[in-house]
Symmetry: C2
Subunit: 394 residues, 2 copies
């Protein structure tokens, strides 16, 4: 068995993550996992989903057929109205339906990045975004925006190459759980303007706020400054994965119409379109209002976050960690020189607790002493038990 | 409204097809369309689909959740067994589930093509394949394999750059409806061996044979010659879009395990995975046997093909066209100098008949006097009426 095929140069940068392979082994019931980062299936609207698929299948000639690359128009209309409510006056022509926000990341990279172009992002950043971008062989530079601390934007060590994109998760970022304050948002837009780059706003967790006021999205600020969405250089990636369910693979891009037209061509060439039946079912699931689902998710994860923070305070009072106001993640920093990957091996072997070491989230493989703790899946009791166990090996 | 974003160089090659825009206008009921190329929804297993989704949703915590990038294991097992029956002894680890064969084309291009690499394909070739490949900026060279005529493989005018891939639709190709004979299949494999390229076998229509014997797939021939699938350099792209329904977006890649591992990383970075619920529903739809669906589709399209060929003989006896033994398409050649795009405009305006002009299927924009006729959607009566009308403007 050989792997001697004439691969493209991009493939040398795409390798299986050892951590991911290790974490495949944590499905044993005795393991308490803070690794997942996926929604709690207890929140899935099972009964409503049955009704939604039955409704979609009442018209099988539509639901089971090919459909347009732009996406199912009633769903695009619904999303445009939601975006408008969130400060971005949008029409359906500003919306492209994608297979989750992940496909939006891939399409934005495909649209913008030639080898050697530069992407600015925070270190750490969402691993899946780095994987999506890296397939197009960019360089990375570190963007420093101090979440909530009103430090002006700056970035360090420009690697060279045109800065094509600034990637940000302004609300409850994966992996840190941190959000950007209003000043940092303005500063990011200012920097993008100076550098000529496009801002990719990954809003995967934006709806999941527990406390504090919701700042305007980067796109809303940019639209207000420029007088309209079609003049904006911010691209908003949304998803139903964290508010409804991820298994349908339905998300969206909201952007200026000329860019949506380009991304639609990319969608046509890459996957034709998102599953027709899933788009119709998703529309049926959200058409009468997504608020009950969102409110339930907020309350649910709020309780779990509290359980995590309480346990950390009780059992690991010396550990530095974030206190997220929303989302699914907290981020912990071990003393300098302590290796989180080594800790994971010990933690799995000795106390059966899993988490994700932080280095994978850093384009420069720094952050060896950091780790991500997701509180989305375990019960509050298991969260407490898990942190108690973890404290024993730390 | 400006489109002045810092796009990657690949975007200059991605433009909206004028023809496609024109054909968006053919949905009026009085138009008879031979343009579509999509399955007849009369064949969709609506009742079975309702049962399949209900079954999948009996376990909502699985069906609505994220799942592994490789795909749903029971479906991969089922596909591996089908591939084995078709002459390619495969295991589930040789199978990756993709969002239709289109995503398989994109992923193969992503895995193999750097700018300037060469793809060999027949002129004409499937437009969607050319779109998928072109995003990775290859050059094209013309592959001449004379379908069924036992001419040895040869290719003309090598453009330079490493020949990374040979793209072929050996059975009832889109757009020509032609198939490769056994000698042409061997010749294609021999050429790929000499050039060091990977063979991408697009099997989208392979199951839809009306008449004649089914030759071994390119992959089956290569596996027999090399002693096993893991030593093969043929990649088989399969889909349920033409045998079950396209709206679920479920297809597969069958290939050597090291390549499947690479494509799985690409899937993780591009879209995470195919919709979980759709994979489970598709498994439920096919688990007890796909043969009744395939047999119904064969009989259905066979009747329609006969209607088309009869009408062409009766109303357009001078028109050169193919007589496909399966699939959804016939291919017609107008006299030299006659422009099919101009004919389409007249045909739509004067008699309300649509088809796809052939130039779009040619990487070098040749073939202006050719056109694709799909018989999948209109009834036999509308097919006859449509060809009668078309003959009036030709």
């Amino acid at each position: 068995m050989t792997d001697a095929l004439p691969y493209a140069s991009r493939m040398s940068g795409m390798r299986a993550s050892e951590i991911r392979e290790l974490l495949k082994l944590v499905d044993r019931p005795q393991v308490i996992s803070f690794a997942g980062g996926i929604p709690d299936p207890a929140l899935f609207p099972a009964e409503a989903a049955r009704a939604a698929y039955a409704k979609a299948l009442a018209e099988p000639a539509t639901a089971l057929q090919y459909s347009v690359s732009e996406g199912y128009r009633p769903l695009r209309e619904w999303i445009a109205a939601e975006m408008t409510r969130d400060g971005v006056a949008a029409t359906p022509d500003n919306i492209l339906i994608t297979a989750g926000a992940q496909q939006g990341l891939d399409y934005m990279a495909k649209a913008l990045l030639s080898p050697g172009d530069t992407v600015l992002c925070e270190y750490p950043s969402y691993l899946g975004a780095l994987q999506a971008f890296s397939a197009y062989e960019p360089r990375y530079d570190r963007l420093r925006l101090d979440g909530g601390n009103r430090t002006p934007a700056s970035y360090l060590g420009r690697a060279g190459g045109a800065v094509k994109a600034l990637y940000l998760v302004p609300d409850f970022a994966n992996p840190t759980g941190l959000s950007l304050g209003l000043d940092a948002r303005h500063a990011a837009l200012q920097l993008a303007e100076e550098l000529g780059g496009v801002v990719i706003e990954d809003a995967a967790y934006r709806a999941l706020r527990f406390s504090g006021a919701t700042p305007p999205s980067l796109q809303a600020l940019d639209v207000a400054a420029r007088g309209g969405l079609d003049a904006s250089r911010v691209v908003y990636l949304g998803t139903f994965s964290k508010t409804v369910a991820p298994g349908l693979r339905v998300g969206w891009v909201c952007a200026a119409r000329p860019l949506i037209a380009r991304l639609t061509l990319i969608n046509q060439a890459s996957a034709l379109h998102v599953s027709t039946i899933n788009q119709i079912a998703m529309f049926e699931l959200v058409r009468s209002g997504i608020e009950p689902l969102v409110a339930a998710a907020r309350a649910h994860y709020h309780r779990k976050r509290d359980a995590l923070l309480d346990a950390l305070e009780r059992y690991a009072p010396g550990l530095t960690h974030t206190a997220p106001e929303g989302g699914l993640f907290s981020w912990a920093t071990l003393p300098e020189g302590v290796d989180a990957a080594a800790l994971l091996e010990r933690s799995l072997a000795e106390v059966g607790v899993a988490f994700v070491p932080g280095a994978a989230f850093h384009p420069d493989a720094s952050g060896a002493n950091t780790l991500r703790l997701s509180y989305s899946l375990p019960t509050s009791e298991r969260i407490e038990e898990g942190i108690w166990r973890l404290a024993k090996v730390m």
